[in-house]
Structure formats: C-alpha cells, structure tokens
Symmetry: C2
Subunit: 240 residues, 2 copies
DNA sequence: CGCCCTTTTGACGAGCTTCAATTCTGGTGG
DNA sequence: CCACCAGAATTGAAGCTCGTCAAAAGGGCG
C-alpha cells in the first residue's frame, strides 16, 4: 500500500487542493480511507430527520442531497462529488436536514473527526465554505436564470469542482447525472431539459454522448454567463 | 441600564431560545450590544468579494443577502431577521460570497468572537445550522413550488422565525418587505407577486395592510403545504 | 436477444412575464 | 391641516417559456 497514495485518489486530491495538508493530516486520512466501503447506486447515506452519526467523506462516485414534497415532487438540493464532505456540522445532537443518496456506485469512508490535524481542519472549513457558496449559487440559478442559463451555469460549476479533484480536463468530464436528475436539480422537467440540451448541441455549446460531457470553448461560455469562480477566501485558490 | 435586558430585546430573545445562555454569555452579549450602531435602509453590511472583518449580530430591523447577475437581475438569497448572525464563518481569510443590505432601518453590533462562552458558542452553532436549513428550504421553494406555494411557505417561515424572537404572535407580524422584495426573493416578478397576494386575500388566507401581515388559520395553511418546522437538532426546540 | 431505463418527439395548455398605465399610501413641507 | 410627491401597489392585454400528456425510439446490461 503506497504511503502517499498515488497521484490518483480524487478525494485526496481535492482536499490537498483546499489546504496544504501535512503528514499528520495525510496519515489520518489514509487510515480513514482504509476503512472505506462501497455503495450501490440509490443507496442512502443520510436520511432527513434522522440523527447524524458523523461526517462521511465521499471518495468515488456522485451523490445528491435531496428533499421530497409531500405530493412526490423532488428537489435535488445539490450534487456531491469525490472529496466532498457529507453531514459535517457542529450543532448539538445534529439531525440531517436533507436526505443524501448515491447517484452512482460510490465509495465512502468516515471523515476523521477526532484529533483532527489542524491542516485537515483547515481543509474541512474550506470545504464547508465552498458548499455554502454552491448553495447560494444554486439559489440564484433557480430564482433568476432561464433554463438554458441554469444548465450552462451548472455544467461550468461541475466542471470546476471536478477539475479540483482531477476528474475533469480540457472542458470535458464523465457526466453521471441523467437528464431527469438535471431536471430535479434545476427546477425543470425532464422533457424541457432534453430540449434545452438539444438546443445547446445545435449551438455547438456542448457534446454529450456515452456518458461524457464536453463543453466547447469554456471561456466563451463563462463570459456569456458572467461566470465568476467561487471565491470565499483571500488565500484560495492558492498560488504556490 | 437593566442587567438582564428587559423581556424585550428580540435578538437576545432569539439567542436565548437557541441555547441556554449562562451569565457569562449574557455578559459578553450585553457588552457587544452596548456597542451597537444604527443603520439606514439600503445600507451595506457586507460586500460580495470583500474580506469579512468579523461577524455581525442583527439586533433590530430586517436585512437581505443578495446577489446580482451581470445584466441587473437580482436574486435575494434570504432574509435576515433580528438575532441572526451575519458573516459568521471559519475559513481562513474569509471573503463574503454575497452582499448583505439592510432592508429597513436597523441596529447591529459586532458579534462577540473572542473568548466566546461555551453556551454562546452553542447558540452560534445552532444559528448556523438553522441558516443552512433555511437555505435548503429556499432552494426547494424556488425549484419545485408554484408561486402561490412559495409565498405561503415563505410567510410561514418568516412567522416561525420572527416568533422565536418574540416578533410574531397570533398568526401576525410586521412585514418589512415590499412586494418587489418578495419577487426578487421568490424568483417572480412584482406584478405576479401582487396577483398571487390578491388571490390569497380572496381565498381568505391572509390579510396584509398597513405593514402588518396576518395569516389566517396557521394550522390549515401548514398542512395544506405539508409544512414541517426546521429540525436540525434532536435537542431543539428545547422543551423545558 | 430482450428488457428496462433513458432519451427523444409532438401537440397543446397553463403559469408567469412584459410593458405600460393608473391608483393608492405614507411621509414631507408649506 | 392639507397639498404634494415618490415609492408601492394594482390593473389589463398580449406573448413566451416551460409544463403536461402520451407515445416512440434508442441504448446499455444481464
């Protein structure tokens, strides 16, 4: 077993991008990763209104935070990607305010939570701050963007977040969400999502086939939207 | 000057509802409140993309977290009420991910942030957890509810939150938001907000005049919507 | 190869927006 | 005390975005 897990592990890569992890941090992470388990698609990681035992680290695969209305309508609150923390919170006797489900096959492990080395704690805090920023972005998408804008904005967000974990490059990444998932995420219907995607294809904005999404001319799309990268800390992204 | 500030102060009342504040906590709060300042309407408390100096406690009046799109569209992310924390976060070199503006005349003070007594820290954590839950509620409103449902759901949320601070009772509270503000909050136009409100009046769901909003038959509205109170901790709301 | 999930297509309708006026309201100064 | 003003609320007509319903075509996996 490699001691500095190979170039590879996306989750580790993301956390290292968030803070300058030291040996102690890497050690506890490796220990946690050693206790990882595999989950099938559509498996529950956290259930709304139930106690949260401890935080979970998503190592591989995609997951969603979701909420149901009494009549069956579903809103997907956000998407969770490798390296994201699930159920990290600090109030007493924490209870989940939403359900978390795997979208694909996934690997998770308990997030180290006792005697957390300071640099890892830093990564956690950064992660929490980014999560909140993404929530705000989601609110803006749903409240004030057209279907087409929402879709582009989401794709750009996913791209940037996946790139952090080394899972996206050259404007392209493995898209694990179905059009129906996008619909429930973006407040649309699957039918309309489909129509918008075809429009985007016609406009040459994207290619999406065989589970791979490609964004053409990232820069152009970004300033079409007035896209700004998430920015929650004057010391991040680090330039070193 | 009263030592246990009179029954009154709404912000204090909210914090005391969140955690069982001890004498030490009340002391630092009073010290902070003594340094409060008054703000006119439409004053900036936090500016997007700028450093956050420290957390602020909203004592009186309403404020909004808001974000602008490049073409001028505005999305109000959420509403801030007396007792709410503004800019409370933990990452290094924190930068605001949204702008915070007063909606009405308001009073604020720096939130105690050094040597925070444990019970106050508990209240902070509870407050942060509730904020996040409200953000998720907002996402659900925008993504999967009709205009009418959004409005009702928002009114119920405001009612419950204001009641915590002692600012709402018997289904009624002082409504500081204009219809245009509601529109930017709920992802609608002011015109449509107006139409929905009139429908709600015709249906006998609400009365809204002279700045006072009254919700008729809270219970009925709640289960019409399948309303569930925010629930983020097994130990809250406390029954003692 | 066959089944099921996902994507795609069409026709139609509803909800919400847009634009443009008009009326109302609360606060101000004479 | 009332006239006045600016912001807020209200109204109407017309149109576009997106939803609904239903059915067909495609694609991946056992």
């Amino acid at each position: 077993m490699p001691k500095h897990p190979e170039p590879a592990d996306p989750a580790l890569r993301r956390l290292r991008a968030l803070a300058d992890l030291d040996a102690a941090a890497l050690a506890v992470l490796e220990a946690a990763i050693a206790r990882s388990r595999c989950l099938a698609p559509h498996q529950e990681i956290l259930a709304e209104r139930e106690r949260i035992a401890g935080a979970t680290l998503l190592l591989e695969g995609w997951a969603i935070r979701t909420r149901m209305l009494p009549d069956g309508r579903r809103q997907i609150l956000n998407i969770l990607l490798p390296g994201d923390l699930i159920g990290h919170c600090h109030q007493d006797a924490p209870v989940a305010s939403s359900t978390v489900l795997t979208l694909t096959r996934a690997r998770v492990c308990p997030a180290p939570d006792r005697l957390v080395p300071p640099t890892l704690e830093q990564a956690y805090r950064m992660s929490v701050a980014l999560d909140e920023a993404h929530d705000l972005r989601q609110i803006t998408r749903l409240g004030r963007m057209t279907a087409h804008e929402r879709m582009l904005d989401l794709f750009l967000e996913l791209y940037d977040r996946l790139a952090l974990a080394g899972l996206a490059q050259h404007g392209s990444f493995a898209m694990a969400a179905t059009q129906e998932v996008l619909a429930d995420l973006l407040g649309l219907t699957a039918v309309h999502v489909n129509r918008v995607i075809q429009q985007m294809r016609r406009l040459g904005e994207i290619d999406w086939s065989r589970g791979r999404l490609e964004l053409h001319d990232l820069a152009a799309q970004r300033d079409l939207l007035g896209w700004q990268p998430v920015y929650v800390s004057a010391r991040w992204p680090r330039r070193d």
